[in-house]
């Protein structure tokens, strides 16, 4: 009995630590006052201002666009890497291949951002492209560091995967390509979706790399939010967090429900 009391206390305190700051954030989003910390009364004023803030809306659209595109590209390339590493024996300079596909996971974002910026500047000096930085350069950078996250998920999934199914299909007359498209890819589809979602979130959330590779007309949501809260507080950002958390909780519940159904 004593140990179960400790257990519930630990879990309760842990969850309290994780959720308390978020609840505070949401609570103050309903504050009428412009000064975030001085409570004046309940109001939806900041939600209204948020939806009328063109800068934030525009940044949100740009962010979603870049995140969806870079997640898609990163997923295609990441699946190829995961598949190559597990299923293809002959990879030239394999250690180098592993180095390229795993280093972005552990490289601090700041170094990655700096290297991308200097690369784009040098490239522009040599071939005159890209003449200015913007959404395209952010997209390229995001693909580059999201590939590794997708690759690791796919690699883990394929390692667990029973190879006999593929071999059976080959014995039954499927060729290599057909096995891949009819057997392997459908089976690892949940991991592909998980990889895409992870890449999408990472891209959507990235501030550092985007700050280095951004240019005119490419202010992503984190860049705009950071400029608002770097020096002070902003009630609109509170409203934004509340909406985001609400969306996430719904996705979480949906995932939980789907997962439970899936297991039964």
């Amino acid at each position: 009995m004593k140990s179960s009391l400790i257990k519930s206390t630990v879990i309760f305190l842990g969850l309290f630590f994780l959720y308390f700051p978020i609840l505070v954030l949401i609570f103050y989003s309903f504050n009428e006052n412009k000064r975030v910390m001085v409570w004046k009364g309940f109001s939806l004023r900041w939600y209204n201002e948020l939806f009328n803030n063109e800068q934030i809306i525009e940044a949100f659209i740009i962010s979603i666009k870049i995140a969806a595109l870079s997640a898609t590209f990163a997923t295609i390339l990441g699946v190829m890497i995961g598949y190559s590493l597990v299923r293809i024996r002959k990879i030239p300079f394999k250690s180098f291949y592993i180095f390229l596909s795993s280093t972005p996971l552990v490289l601090p974002e700041l170094i990655l951002g700096l290297s991308m910026l200097l690369f784009f500047i040098s490239l522009n000096n040599v071939i005159g492209f890209p003449s200015s930085r913007g959404q395209l350069t952010i997209f390229i950078s995001h693909v580059t560091f999201c590939i590794a996250f997708v690759a690791i998920i796919i690699q883990a999934r394929l390692t667990d995967f029973n190879k006999n199914i593929e071999e059976a299909a080959m014995d039954l007359g499927y060729n290599y390509t057909k096995v891949l498209y009819k057997i392997t890819l459908p089976i690892i589809l949940p991991s592909i979706i998980a990889g895409w979602l992870l890449a999408f979130t990472i891209s959507l959330d990235d501030l550092v790399v985007a700050s280095f590779t951004t240019g005119p007309g490419a202010n992503t949501l984190p860049i705009v939010v950071f400029s608002k809260v770097r020096l002070g507080l902003s009630p609109e950002v509170n409203a934004l967090s509340a909406i985001l958390m609400f969306a996430l909780i719904i996705i979480g519940l949906f995932y939980f429900y789907y997962n439970k159904k899936f297991k039964h």
Binding site: I81, S84, P108, V225
Partner: protein
């Protein structure tokens, strides 16, 4: 024959992308880090000069410059200490949580996992911002402390190194919990019972059975926290003050404020050599080793 072509396509498409957009940028950092700096745009000289015959124009002065100045070394050390302390606290909070989640019944376990992951999937920036609100002079923590009579006037909780540690532990905690959970989940609970049956008490069971078996999870989680924290820029920028300078901030300012590209590149490349290379080599050796043992 067709398979060969197909395999090549799979191997080389990402290969091409990563060489072009990852390896070459790293090489460019190295190149600029050994270039002679000068005023102008770009603020460094070419490393190959062709005016009076061919000449290689490189220097290690940028490295000498950053490694002989306490300003740079000191902030790198500050970052390492910060990462060490934050990793320790993440482990201290994360381990019991991961352990109790892993030992819960399957229904509760799934709910708890989703609850741990939700904050992690929400915006990093907004989670840091939340602490800025909590730690304000008239923020909720100060209100509680004042009402409890612990302090008679608001404490300056924000803009110092403790606020930075708080923010880091909070945002990186799920990165510690998830790999720990991954390993503890595979753990045979009967081992704990067995150890108790054999007469080991609670403390001994923990140190002799649970802890040794969770070492891979601890290593994985600690690396996931430690390395990004060394290069962390946003959290010190939002919650930290001028009491401590960190590697990320120095690198950012060297590039954007001082416009010293070779210096910033030398800082970045040193970071790669000291921090990232040992781990990557370890990982490659480990994956080769595990593959060899499997075949």
């Amino acid at each position: 024959m067709k398979n060969k072509l197909f395999e090549k396509y799979f191997v080389f498409s990402p290969y091409f992308w990563l060489v072009l957009f990852f390896f070459i940028p790293l090489a460019i950092i190295f190149k600029i880090s050994i270039s002679v700096s000068e005023w102008g745009m770009p603020p460094y000289q070419d490393i190959f000069l062709f005016d009076n015959g061919f000449k290689i124009n490189t220097t290690f002065e940028n490295y000498v410059y950053i490694f002989s100045d306490y300003y740079y070394i000191g902030s790198f050390v500050n970052s390492l200490i910060l990462a060490l302390i934050s990793t320790f606290f993440c482990l201290l909070i994360g381990f019991p949580l991961a352990f109790y989640i892993a030992t819960s019944n399957i229904r509760l376990r799934n709910i708890l996992l989703v609850l741990v992951v939700i904050p992690f999937w929400s915006s990093f920036l907004l989670r840091v911002y939340a602490w800025k609100i909590i730690l304000q002079n008239n923020g909720i923590l100060n209100v509680i402390l004042l009402n409890l009579g612990i302090t008679s006037e608001p404490l300056q909780l924000l803009y110092n190194q403790y606020a930075v540690i708080m923010g880091i532990v909070y945002t990186y905690l799920p990165l510690m919990i998830l790999p720990l959970y991954g390993y503890l989940n595979k753990f045979d609970l009967n081992l704990i019972e067995a150890s108790k049956d054999l007469g080991l008490n609670r403390t001994k069971t923990f140190f002799k059975v649970i802890l040794p078996l969770s070492v891979p999870g601890i290593v994985a989680g600690s690396l996931l926290v430690f390395i990004p924290v060394v290069g962390e820029f946003i959290i010190p920028e939002m919650l930290g003050g001028s009491d401590r300078l960190y590697y990320g901030k120095i690198l950012w300012e060297e590039f954007f404020v001082n416009r010293n590209w070779p210096g910033a590149s030398a800082l970045a490349f040193s970071g790669i050599i000291i921090l990232v290379l040992p781990i990557v080599i370890f990982q490659i050796l480990y994956s080769r080793w595990s593959q060899k043992n499997e075949i």
